[in-house]
């Protein structure tokens, strides 16, 4: 049972929320929609759920026109980024709600709710009111409510974004386990996120969305290794990929008075207006390196992010240890140019270290 969309467009005001979006989702697979905020992720999920009607385009599920089926008959489930539950019901009643709506036998409901509670680790919380739970627990309840339905399509709209760091890590791990247990082989799982790391960890098929447009579709690894454009490179890396305006001539990359030897995959590029892309993790501190000035140093977790500047070129370097720097300190860095990407003047991928070429 495939979920197929053709040229979905939605333009409620003067901006496209969805712009000619097409996809073909197959059952039993996990799809990750990666995009920045306001890129149209939620709109897309709501359109699939039936809460929004696109201005044009069509969605088919199992060969049937999905747009003609009202939300309440679509058998989809959705988890919102806000922790949405029914505040007037307790945990058990919340999870039982969709089953009661289907008029299922009470004993079966009890059994299914208990199963769902177990799978999200909330056994013993049945009689609590929603307001008494923490954010993470509330989100688990809404996950349990969407699991219990055995929906054919499970939509998760940035389910972890409003949780604190630790809980996010923990729930992400649990999600992965749930998903890999093969929720059911006939479920289509659609997970939207702004976080590239989450995308890579979930390791599903990725759809990169920006301003309502699909920029690239492919397995997570492919998106990571061969982003087809500057935009995708920005969206699929956190911190965003460093983009450096450089000249490549005669096997040398030159920018800001720095001259490094071009690796094989970049050496044949000769066109003008090339931009070099380099991940923040592919730059390292090195005493024999090139001198940059520290603009900002932030420590996040066990990482240090250095915002550096030299002339007009600004870059971000992430270092896997906690280091203290002051603003205007001078640091010396080296570029791992063999991992550099090249994008041509109109932003398309020209060469990647993983061999992917545009077109």
């Amino acid at each position: 049972m495939d979920l197929v969309a053709n040229n979905l467009s939605y333009k409620p005001d003067d901006q496209y929320h969805l712009n000619e979006v097409s996809f073909n989702f197959k059952e039993g697979n996990l799809y990750t929609i990666l995009g920045r905020t306001l890129s149209g992720k939620t709109t897309l999920l709501k359109t699939i759920a039936g809460l929004l009607t696109p201005d044009s385009g069509e969605i088919e599920f199992d060969g049937k026109n999905f747009l003609k089926i009202p939300v309440w008959e679509r058998n989809v489930a959705m988890v919102y980024q806000q922790f949405i539950n029914y505040p007037h019901l307790n945990v058990f009643e919340n999870i039982a709600f969709p089953l009661k709506q289907r008029k299922i036998d009470q004993s079966i409901i009890n059994e299914k709710v208990m199963d769902a509670l177990k799978s999200v680790g909330l056994l013993g919380y049945e009689n609590r009111m929603i307001q008494e739970l923490s954010g993470g627990q509330q989100q688990r309840v809404s996950l349990a409510r969407s699991l219990v339905k055995n929906a054919k399509i499970l939509l998760l709209d940035e389910p972890l974004v409003n949780l604190d760091y630790k809980l996010r890590e923990q729930l992400r791990e649990e999600f992965k386990n749930l998903f890999s247990k093969g929720l059911a082989d006939e479920t289509i799982l659609i997970y939207s996120t702004t976080d590239p790391r989450e995308t890579m960890e979930l390791n599903g098929e990725v759809i990169v969305l920006d301003e309502g447009k699909v920029l690239q579709v492919g397995p997570a690894k492919e998106i990571f290794e061969n982003p087809n454009s500057l935009k995708v490179a920005e969206i699929s890396n956190d911190p965003p990929m460093n983009i450096i305006e450089a000249k490549i001539t005669g096997n040398h990359i030159r920018f800001e008075g720095i001259d490094v030897e071009a690796p094989q995959h970049l050496s044949k590029l000769t066109e003008d207006g090339l931009k070099i892309g380099l991940r923040s993790s592919d730059i390292e501190l090195n005493e024999n390196g090139h001198e940059f000035e520290v603009e900002l140093a932030e420590i996040s977790g066990s990482e240090t992010l250095l915002h550096l500047k030299r002339g007009d070129t600004k870059i971000i370097v992430s270092i896997e240890e906690v280091l203290n720097f002051k603003i205007h300190d001078k640091v010396k860095i080296n570029f791992k140019v063999d991992r550099a990407y090249a994008f041509n003047a109109n932003g398309k991928l020209a060469s990647s270290p993983f061999g992917g070429l545009n077109g």
């Binding site: 709501k46 759920a49 039936g50 809460l51 009202p70 939300v71 309440w72 008959e73 679509r74 989809v76 489930a77 959705m78 919102y80 806000q82 949405i84 539950n85 029914y86 505040p87 007037h88 709600f97 969709p98 709506q101 289907r102 929603i130 307001q131 809404s142 409510r145 339905k149």
Partner: protein, 282 residues
């Protein structure tokens, strides 16, 4: 610092309580006084300052033939009109408020906010402006001087209150809750009844209370739109007045007319303090 705070707190509570309760105490004692005790200088304490009697109260239930005023029928009339009009206003008002909060309407330049304002504008207009149209309208459909006619008019007056309070309340209930209900298999009506409404009980209570209060205390329309067939309590109380002001029976009837509101307030207060107005939704 703490002691000062506690002192000030109780000081203000006491002052405020005296301020609120004193008129009621005054009315209560007055209702047991006779002509002499009211007009012959200030008296406060029964059996000490004056000899209490039940004349003021008896007049209220005696039939006019025996020199009484009989407020029992107007009392029940008032209750019936107020409750019916409030109930209908709450039902209609809640439905319209939900529609205004969740769906987008557009007819030319008229949008949701304009519709909401139209409802509220019914209350902004001075009642006197509406009196003649109402009078002509009711007389044209033969409902002048009838309970049904009053109910119709009160719905016009009370529904804006319900709409106004409930639109605001529904706007605070996240839309995603309705959407989740739809996704969980409810059609829009079920989503409203099973999910949105149970989460709006505090709002419903507040709106209901306002409707009851405004319906119960209305004098103007009850005065203009009824004559002899039906009478409502406020009109009857005013009619008590004669060449000699009967302070005792006026006080008694004032207490009787305020009583239902006080009872309602006490019942409702429990619900309101349980989860404060916005507490239902985190």
């Amino acid at each position: 610092m703490d002691k000062l705070y506690i002192f000030l707190k109780y000081f203000f509570i006491v002052v405020w309580t005296v301020f609120v309760v004193a008129p009621f105490l005054w009315a209560l004692t007055t209702s047991f006084k006779d002509f002499q005790s009211v007009n012959g200088g200030v008296t406060y304490i029964p059996w000490v300052d004056f000899e209490p009697n039940l004349e003021g109260w008896k007049v209220l239930i005696k039939s006019p033939a025996k020199g009484g005023v009989d407020i029992i029928e107007p009392y029940f009339n008032s209750m019936f009109v107020t409750c019916t009009a409030s109930l209908i206003s709450i039902i209609l008002g809640t439905l319209s408020a939900y529609a205004l909060s969740r769906y987008t309407f557009k007819a030319g330049f008229v949008k949701n906010n304009d519709i909401t304002f139209f409802f509220i504008s019914q209350r902004i207009m001075p009642p006197i402006v509406l009196s003649i149209p109402f009078f002509l309208f009711l007389s044209s459909i033969n409902l002048l001087d009838s309970l049904t006619g009053l109910i119709v008019v009160y719905i016009v007056l009370l529904m804006p209150i319900a709409v106004w309070i409930m639109v605001d309340f529904f706007n605070k209930v996240p839309r995603e809750i309705d959407e989740t209900a739809l996704i969980d298999g409810c059609n829009p009506y079920q989503a409203f009844l099973k999910v949105v409404l149970p989460n709006s009980i505090p709002g419903l209570i507040v709106a209901g209370m306002f409707c009851i209060i405004f319906g119960w205390i209305d004098f103007f329309f009850a005065f203009i739109l009824t004559f002899t067939e039906v009478q409502l309590l406020p009109v009857k109380i005013v009619a008590l007045n004669s060449s000699v002001t009967p302070w005792w029976s006026l006080s008694a009837s004032a207490l009787v007319s305020v009583a239902p509101l006080i009872i309602v307030a006490f019942i409702v207060e429990r619900y309101l303090s349980k989860g404060n107005l916005s507490g239902a939704i985190k």
